[in-house]
């Protein structure tokens, strides 16, 4: 358990929310990724770009930096993530704006994860 936190090691790594088990990622499911891309464009792109900071952090290659379960809990349970998860609290301090609850289903959140797996990480800062 992290110092000063009431979170379990699982929650530290995978976030707090409806996803309570690690999500295993197999080969990319292209149909699911396509659905995720459409969702990303309608629901996420108002605040997130892939390659640069916008309202929120850049999300290209995000699955190299957080677990799939963490990404899904962030999409599905942002309010509690902002209040309880130290990493997300720190992000709030950086970005000063909370991610809204987009009323996604678990299946939709999983599809967005599948799409984000296929995106390249942002170019390193100069």
């Amino acid at each position: 358990m992290a110092a000063g936190s009431d979170l379990t090691p699982f929650q530290m790594e995978n976030g707090i929310g409806p996803i309570t088990e690690a999500v295993t990622l197999g080969p990319v499911n292209q149909a699911q990724a396509d659905e995720g891309k459409a969702l990303f464009e309608s629901k996420c792109s108002a605040c997130h770009k892939l390659g640069e900071r916008y309202v929120g952090p850049p999300l290209g290659g995000i699955l190299d930096r957080v677990t799939a379960a963490f990404a899904m809990n962030m999409m599905l349970n942002p309010q509690e993530m902002y209040t309880r998860h130290p990493v997300v609290k720190e992000l709030l301090g950086q970005y000063m704006t909370q991610m809204p609850d987009l009323a996604l289903t678990q299946e939709q959140a999983r599809a967005v994860v599948e799409y984000l797996r296929t995106t390249p990480p942002p170019a390193p800062a100069e």
């Binding site: 309608s42 792109s45 108002a46 605040c47 000063m96 704006t97 909370q98 809204p100 009323a103």
Partner: protein, 654 residues
């Protein structure tokens, strides 16, 4: 004063402590809301919900108030018949049509009687109806999103007061003329009242699935003033009752001339007989012009259909459709007890409360116990139908509601009190003062088959010395009384919006789970919606410019717009991309000769702006939405007419 200080010593009453001494000093003779015990019974701790929703008519505000009980906290002012610049109701392109009438756009009405939809004589929490009294209309409000969904105008009518009371399964909502007029309208001398003026009782069919209203038929009646109504239940299910006054048919100084007769009438309408007469061809279609305004469920855009005819059934052409019940004197309210057997009239100039028996009425009809007829309508003998009279109830009885425990509660306007009496022996059980001049009263479910009881709410016209003074115009008020015991006990009073006439109260548990939290963006069918930032943009068509904007915490897209010219009609179509509860965004721009917009999550709303001077003008979000709300803004560049500045907006990816 010392009494108030004792109240204040109770630990939980910090907030009330400051108020009670003033109330005590101001009123002098009237008791303060009583005791720490009373305060505890209306105290809803911070963060907890009230047990009931109470819907109060806004009266001359034209709106509908929504309060929590027992706390008396105002939750919402729901716009119905009046424009509301706070959220653009009646100003936005999507909602303007809701206020269309055959007289044109009307920004106001006088709303009187909220009426919850019922199934089996019990409120089902689907819709609430309310009447527009001045330009006769009925509105239906959807209780899943607390929005006005439909308004239908009632043609040939005037003073739509006995409305919109519903039948037991919301088969119909009704309307009536409180002011008889030439029917159909005509240019005739006012002194020809008795010859030319008639009353109309209108039955509006309510579709059981959609709630959609359509006028089924209008019953032509003698030219009295049809004042209030309630429908039957149980054994009296097929009947609706309307009080009338001015059976004298006076056309001037009604306060004297319409108060001559010892008895006026309750019109008992057998609406299934009316249906049969219409089916049998005894009615006729007559030309009419009336607006029917519907908010489309999918596009969230209101439209008006101007209807062209109604079905008129002359009461004298349909045997058995209406009987008059003689009732002392100038009766106001008519209320049917939970069993459906007793019909209570508030004879406002009578010294007793007359109570009619439905079963005796049926027997009198079978026995032809008539004392005569008026305008082709049989008048039953009073002695043959009356179940009893409540003696010495007070003065000026107006309205009665029921607690489901065998008791009735009648408001007494002249003596400012509520009188509780027994439905068994019609004896008075208790009286409590109200402050002051009570009109309607309301018990949760008090006009239904199964009242929830617990409280009675007095709706008062006059408050005089009850609150801090606010110049010549003082607030109206509601007062909450506990009726769980033998004696009524005043717990609380609180100010109300506009003038509350009637109110209806429903357990919160019936409505809370039905509440829509957001509109599904994917289902947004507004023709000008931008469902993502990529769909935002500007287009020009002559002098008309359409700006499709999106809003999400905490920015608009686009937020730089150029190429607008002085005198353009600029349509700002703002789509709120949020899908999160309680995150509306607002929109306003300097010099907007119109209201602001308030856009719910997933919704699109449009406001029109005609810029009249050159410059760069800011627009911004008016509803504090996030830590970066102050940053949620943009600019519109307005150039002279004929300028060569190209139309442009910054949309990412475009």
């Amino acid at each position: 004063m010392s009494r108030s200080l004792r109240v204040g010593s109770h630990l939980m009453l910090g907030a009330l402590f400051a108020l009670l001494p003033l109330a005590g000093c101001g009123t002098g003779s009237s008791p303060a809301a009583g005791s720490a015990d009373a305060a505890q019974r209306v105290y809803v701790p911070p963060g907890q919900y009230d047990e009931f929703y109470m819907f109060t008519s806004g009266g001359f505000s034209g709106q509908l108030g929504v309060y929590g009980l027992p706390s008396g906290r105002l939750l919402k002012v729901l716009p119905v018949f009046s424009q509301n610049p706070e959220n653009a109701y009646g100003y936005s392109e999507e909602t303007k049509a809701m206020l269309n009438t055959s007289y044109g756009f009307i920004p106001w009405d006088d709303s009187h009687h909220p009426e919850l939809s019922m199934t089996g004589g019990v409120p089902d929490g689907r819709w609430i109806f309310i009447n527009g009294n001045n330009t006769p209309r009925i509105a239906r409000i959807d209780l899943t999103d607390f929005q006005t969904a439909e308004i239908i105008e009632i043609p040939h009518s005037a003073g739509n007061h006995a409305s919109p009371f519903v039948t037991e399964n919301t088969e119909y909502t009704v309307a009536a003329t409180r002011f008889s007029v030439p029917t159909p309208q005509a240019d005739v001398p006012i002194s020809s009242y008795k010859e030319n003026f008639r009353g109309l009782l209108t039955f509006v069919k309510v579709d059981s699935a959609s709630g959609r209203m359509n006028i089924a038929f209008q019953i032509l009646m003698p030219g009295f003033n049809y004042d209030l109504s309630h429908s039957g239940k149980g054994p009296s299910h097929e009947w609706s009752f309307f009080t009338s006054y001015n059976s004298e048919e006076a056309n001037t100084l009604l306060e004297v001339n319409a108060s001559q007769a010892d008895k006026d009438y309750i019109a008992a309408v057998h609406w299934t007989v009316a249906e049969q007469c219409v089916a049998d061809g005894k009615a006729r279609k007559i030309p009419a012009k009336y607006a029917h305004n519907v908010m489309d469920h999918e596009t969230h855009v209101a439209s008006t259909k101007m209807e062209t005819s109604t079905t008129l059934l002359d009461a004298k052409d349909c045997a058995g459709v209406v009987y008059y019940l003689p009732t002392p004197k100038s009766p106001h309210g008519v209320d049917v007890d939970p069993s459906g057997e007793l019909i209570v009239a508030g004879g406002k100039l009578a010294s007793v409360i007359p109570v009619h028996s439905f079963s005796k009425m049926i027997k009198a009809i079978e026995d032809k116990a008539f004392e005569g007829e008026v305008g082709g309508v049989p008048v039953l003998k009073y002695e043959a139908i009356v179940a009893g009279e409540v003696a010495d109830p007070g003065l000026g009885p107006l309205h009665t509601e029921f607690d489901g425990q065998g008791h009735a509660y009648t408001s007494m306007f002249l003596t400012s009190e509520i009188t509780k009496w027994s439905l068994t022996d019609f004896k008075v059980i208790d009286k409590v003062p109200t402050y002051y001049s009570i009109g309607h009263l309301s018990i949760p479910g008090g006009d239904t088959r199964q009242p929830w009881g617990k409280y009675v709410i007095a709706l008062n016209k006059i408050t005089k010395d009850r609150y801090l003074p606010t110049g010549p115009e003082l607030t109206q008020s509601a007062q909450l009384y506990d009726i769980s015991g033998e004696k009524m006990q005043l717990l609380l009073d609180f100010p109300t919006i506009g003038e509350p006439h009637y109110a209806q109260t429903i357990p919160a548990s019936i409505l809370v789970d039905k509440q829509i939290r957001t509109y599904d963006l994917a289902e947004n069918k507004d023709p000008y919606a931008a469902l993502s930032e990529a769909q935002a943009g500007v287009t020009r068509n002559g002098r008309v410019v359409h700006v499709k904007l999106t809003s999400i915490r905490s920015h608009f897209v686009p937020d730089n717009i150029e190429g607008i010219q002085v005198g353009d009609s600029v349509y700002f179509h703002v789509t709120n991309l949020e899908q999160d509860w309680d995150v509306p965004h607002g929109f306003a721009i300097t010099g907007l000769n119109n209201s602001e917009l308030l856009i719910m999550p997933g919704e699109t709303r449009t406001i029109v702006w005609v810029p009249e001077r050159v410059g760069v003008l800011p627009f911004y979000c008016t509803d504090f939405c996030s830590a970066l709300h102050q940053e949620m803004s943009g600019w519109v560049r307005v150039s002279p007419r004929g300028s060569s500045v190209p139309l442009w907006a910054n949309v990412p990816g475009k």
